[in-house]
Subunit: 474 residues, 4 copies
């Protein structure tokens, strides 16, 4: 019996489908036994009246990447994983991005370096593919997939990152052949360029115009196109950070046709609207993200999309640019220029608490659906299941004891990222992760971090079955 | 340790969301422990290489009801539950129907009598409401709901059974107020009457014309109407035995609008088509059911509907009229008259094996989806969860050890119902339930029934939450 | 050359498809010649800078019917047709309704009596079918159709008027067989009853609750059902007075499936909203109609539906109950009871001016679409074309010279109906019918009525082709 | 009274909205008078029992363009316009395409040269934009629009022709600003490339694989994208040669949202299917076109789209490559290589007769709809109305006397193009254009061409209103 062996007693244990009051016995970092009246272990956690949930899997976290818009992300793997853990997340999927003339493999290695001694929870990488050539498609990508790097992100916009449809088709086919899955940032590059140029030509450069650079049809179109590329290659994709109804309707349309399309949405799209970007002065810069925030009426539809299964994944898209650095991007004057302020909002710590409070406690979704979209589905879709994402015999003991009765008022100071603001300042949330356990080790307890940086490990994966039953792994 | 205490060892245990290789320890008829390397129990079942699944919950089974079209159902609670058990089903929901001038309560009591000494597995009743008056809505129905009879079936067609929309609204409101749920047989009564009369007037009375009495729009319309009645009262309904795409599209439409609509479909709609009803002579009578079998192209859409979550429930709609009795309905000649042959097909035994073979083994759906629609969802929707429908600590040990490698050729003789035919004659199925356990007791083993009639018990329920999170219990 | 022979010179002549500057020569009440530089006639009308349009055909006008809610309509055939003519309408379709134990034929004859000496413009009748029996379906209806009464209205609601689906199917089949078309008032009777009872039981009887007696789903459902009945019998129908988006979407859905469904909407649904019914005190009673006024956001969709061809017909649904009579319906107190105030709004005079001003002048629709929905399509659909509804050789010279530059502020006093209020009080309209000509006779000129009651005649029709090319006559 | 003055007597004159028996008096090449019993003119045509229709406007005709796939089109302006006229078409819109390093203006001038002495009917040009730069967008295009070249075609595929989305947005904005309209060939370039490469790599190079180079999703995607580009710039577009249901559904979706999207389809998509391309040997090459022919079930939906107003325009997309030249493209063997055979089918002569026979005579569409989509709408959308496209006072006397009773069996020999095959060989058509009149001059009579090449003239246009009422000119 190791020192970390423990029993979590009398909690309401929840999986994607079930809810049971029982004990969870953890041994050697794994779940050993599920029963009642378990014999005593070294460490005992009383979870009576609490939920016992699978640790969250945040499938969309930006940490310590090369500068974007000339600005470094505020969080590295230490602050980022601590913040994640404090919000009940025990696994993150972050990104590998090539810098300079690095090969993909070099970029992977560099990212391993960044994470190795810093992370307090486990992690895996999505690799950004921003540059396609024959060597890459024919050699590098297959080799990486075979080594267990089985998820890739492609961009349909952004200078220097955008892939054209032909390149995306190649990525999809190679993914299918070797066993990887593809995340798509769906906004139409040419449209954004065109509309941004028009805004500049007409002098509408204040960020309050940010939305008009990529209105709804720009995202909807790219979503439809991405689904088509997936359809033509019969390869699953995930449309990430879906902002609003029209893009969501395209995903449902694809799903109803039997296509293998997953959808991901994020907390900020449920909470904020385009009006927040129009807050006076620099304040609006705090709410800049891509795709941009939309009309408020969309939020009801996104909630339905979570409840109804349009969205399989609920991620943070944590992209922490400190406000000061946003302010620093003063171009040609005192007002923030929509094209120079780095887009992105922090959120890794509040992702699960937000969904628990606004979703479960307000009865928009069941607690099982909460587990499904915050943990089980992302683990399944990205090849981490059953090691992560559920409470089952043999799975890693990544477990959160969640207190549904605790009420928390969000302030910048209570959060653990390196940011100087939170967009959720002042928001009251119902329910909070009380104890967070990673591989049997309590990493957060009562808000106190009790894990040593570097304890988190990279999660090796193996090539995936990209043609699962029903076209779906989740 | 009781004599029934047992361990099911090394199986692949499946729930609606998870798949784990482990042992299941059963004690006192309940699931006591889930782990690996469980200590020895009196009874040991080796499930290596097998699936260990929750016992099936068949939510739509007709047994020992008053005569329909003047014909008695072939199965009573003994043959019906034996047949169910042999097909891996450990719970059925059958029907209470008033006969003569019985009160609802009397009809319930009579049905209890019919089941008590006969059933080998557990059961609960849906009560058919075919006659609405003030006493019934104001007194009888509330009292029955409070006594735990929490599911009711209404018909939008059939002389003597049809309720008008006003009556259905009353049923829905009372159900909402006291905590019951409502199943709807959705076909438009007036349309059927009209079309049947026309067929008769034109001499098209052979059952090969059966479909034209209730073509797709007749079911689609009633489905839309039922959804509207549910919407107006904000009360969940289940549209039962959905036959084809157009009705399914209405259900999806309602679900996408956030309405509380569940869908059920059945094996015969996945396997057979309107052409089967046109088999020569009396043969077609074997394939008569309502709603009728449809064009074959619909089947692909129904499969998608199961995979995509349009359908929450997969039931047999077992309605066993022996062929001889169908043949007996010779009216005005030697050809079968579409209006006199009782509609209904047997299927309680093959329901789960069919879906396993055609769905899971042919990779149309995942094994988790199989469990969800054959067991977990019906248990949740009809108030039997968590006692039934899953494998979880404290749940009844209703478990099936399923051999995915066994291939079975369906013949009439291998089945355990009282029928003289099976529509699936000659069909090869992959996978078969090897051992069926009810409350810890092996009731079927290797095809041999080893349970005594009367061991099955009625499942008491309590009033349900009809406004669950996300509008859905499943 | 008769005294009425005339030339309308240099106007912009508009049909459903064309726009041409030319002269119209009228002789013997008919259009004789279309050209430029026509020789002089006895009467000359200079239409330079004006539109020359087909006289309007208002396909939905209630005049001199039996009391409804115990209240007589304010308009008879004299005031009604004068009001219509002043608004640029030269043909109305009004209703025959049985009273007491009249036969249908007697009711037709009585209605002829009412109209004969009163009308100043031409008219035909829709016959309401509120009572179906074998004699009626087998004898009376065929005979009336063969006599040229080729349009019938059925109600899916209202005590004493509602037909069940079986009766409607019979009406549709007989219409198809003999050559008539059917208008449908689509609201679900049972739902209205149920919801009205609930409102009463909860004391919410003020008319501000009127909308909750028949919310959108009640109309949408009946619309879907009516389309299904039409589909099953392959018989065209017109869904009249469509109030809002959801019902319209059902019609479009049917049309896209190739079904023979026409749609009609009305000015009040484009202008007013459910908020108008909530005006304080008795004021709201002025805005009562069925289906009720809806949320304002619907109006944009109705406009699209006109522009896009979902709606073929734009009618007034003129149902004039004087405000005083509405006020007279004080039941149990000083506030208006939603169940006792007769629903209906006047509008026959403003129908075309409203659509011209808000549609054509505001560029929501083309002038050709205006002609199509106010004149050509209703004439075609109800068997009056080519005698009415267009400007073509041989057609009746029913012509309106429309001044697009005249601006009119609507007041009660300027209108010619017998009402004591107009819901459009104070509304500014752009464009106005300057000269209105019926069969070559100027009946209104510069706002002055110059026709003698009784000059209007009944328009004999003949059985229609109910299976036109493309399933559509318009 | 000129020698060409004539009267067409007693025909059934049809416009987009009306049908009238009357005489048409033509003077000076224009329609002078519409009446009955017209005074005698020099030339009299008895049209009793015949239809008198506006001469057809074929908005999509390829003549005498630079070689495509290295092959010259078989038809120049002489054979092409003769063939058109013989099929009842009196106006064509053909294409200007740059060759070598021609400027757009030079290409226009060269095309004028090609047409001037050859055409027997009138014509205007769509200008292909295959190369976008600042000079072109800023100077050349505005100048051309101001000179009356007001319709442009862009390609979303084909090497050397494809524009990216940014370029298309620029074209749309310039068109909007100066008053032109844009035709879009909607297939995704990158997808075609990718799929074609795959076919080649797998050795599937026979043209029977042609469809797999651009399956339905490739066209559907581009259609959705084109609609989005139109939406973002609020500029009307026409999606040309729509092949099948999924693309059509996108157009309807856009129209239902109030977007300014027109649709065009063509006879070959109504008649042929992907199976025709699989005819043995070289035979399939006769049926090659882009987008490719689709599954037969689509045809019913296209017919509905014409009847219901999804399609405004019915064009031939006449692209005549003689069979011998297709056969000439033998690459690497005796079987036709899908990438080397020029795609395109002839059809300018049969376009209107085909639609008359299969649409009007088979009662799929009304005769008014026939006129609308073959003449009035294309004239309106491309700025030729009211000079062309209708029968109205002052319009060019482009008129066809159409005999509905004549039955014609199509053979290669009866046609007047320069082709060596017709895909319609052996097809029986009901109805045929008997007399074809252009500007008052009989150019075809009883199948005999009686016009001198060079009599056809270019139709000058002026900048268009791109924001018409209801967003639509048709």
């Amino acid at each position: 019996m190791s020192e970390h062996d423990l029993v979590i007693r009398n909690g309401t244990v929840v999986t994607g489908s079930d809810t049971t009051v029982c004990d969870i016995v953890v041994s050697g970092g794994r779940i050993e036994d599920i029963r009642r009246n378990a014999p005593t272990r070294k460490q005992e956690i009383d979870a009576s009246g609490k939920y016992v949930l699978p640790g969250g899997v945040d499938a969309h976290v930006h940490l310590d990447e090369p500068p974007f818009f000339g600005v470094k992300l505020a969080d590295d793997y230490q602050s980022g994983t601590i913040s994640a853990a404090c919000g009940g997340t025990t696994t993150i999927l972050s990104f590998v991005q090539q810098e300079g003339d690095q090969s993909l493999r070099e970029a992977v290695n560099v990212t391993h370096e960044k994470a190795r001694d810093e992370a307090i929870i486990d992690y895996a990488f999505h690799i950004m593919l921003t540059n396609i050539d024959e060597q890459m498609i024919g050699q590098d990508l297959p080799a990486l997939i075979q080594d267990g790097y089985t998820s890739y992100k492609v961009y349909m916009c952004y200078d220097g990152m955008v892939l054209n449809d032909g390149d995306i088709l190649k990525v999809l086919e190679t993914s299918r052949e070797y066993g990887a899955t593809v995340l798509v940032h769906a906004e139409n590059h040419h449209c954004i360029h065109h509309l941004a140029n028009k805004l500049e030509q007409s002098g509408r450069t204040d960020i309050e115009n940010f939305h008009d650079m990529s209105p709804m049809p720009v995202e909807r179109e790219a979503t439809h196109r991405a689904i088509t590329l997936s359809e033509l290659t019969d390869t699953p994709i995930t449309i990430v950070h879906v902002s609003a109804r029209e893009a969501m309707d395209q995903i449902r349309w694809g799903q109803d046709r039997g296509l293998k399309v997953y959808g991901e949405t994020c907390p900020h799209f449920l909470e904020f609207t385009e009006d927040d970007v129009k807050r006076p002065g620099w304040e609006g810069a705090k709410y800049l993200c891509t795709p941009p925030l939309r009309e408020g009426a969309n939020r009801e539809f996104l909630w339905r999309g979570i409840a109804n299964g349009v969205f399989q994944i609920f991620s943070s898209d944590h992209a922490p640019f400190i406000f000061e650095s946003k302010e620093g991007k003063k171009v040609g004057g005192e007002t923030p220029h929509f094209r120079h302020v780095p887009p992105g909002m922090p959120g890794v710590e509040l992702r699960a608490p937000y969904l628990f409070s606004e979703g479960v406690m307000k009865e928009r979704i069941s607690i099982n659906k909460f587990v499904e979209v915050t943990a089980t589905n992302p683990a399944k879709i990205y090849g981490l299941y059953p090691r992560k994402g559920t409470i089952a015999i043999g799975s890693d003991a990544d477990i959160v004891v969640w207190d549904p009765d605790r009420e928390v008022k969000v302030t910048r100071d209570m959060l653990h990222d390196n940011m100087d603001y939170t967009p959720y300042e002042g928001k009251i949330l119902s329910g909070w992760p009380e104890t967070v356990i990673s591989r049997g080790e309590v990493v957060v307890s009562g808000g106190k971090v009790c894990a040593i940086p570097g304890r988190g490990t990279h999660l090796d994966r193996t090539p995936q079955d990209v043609n699962p039953a029903g076209g779906r792994v989740a």
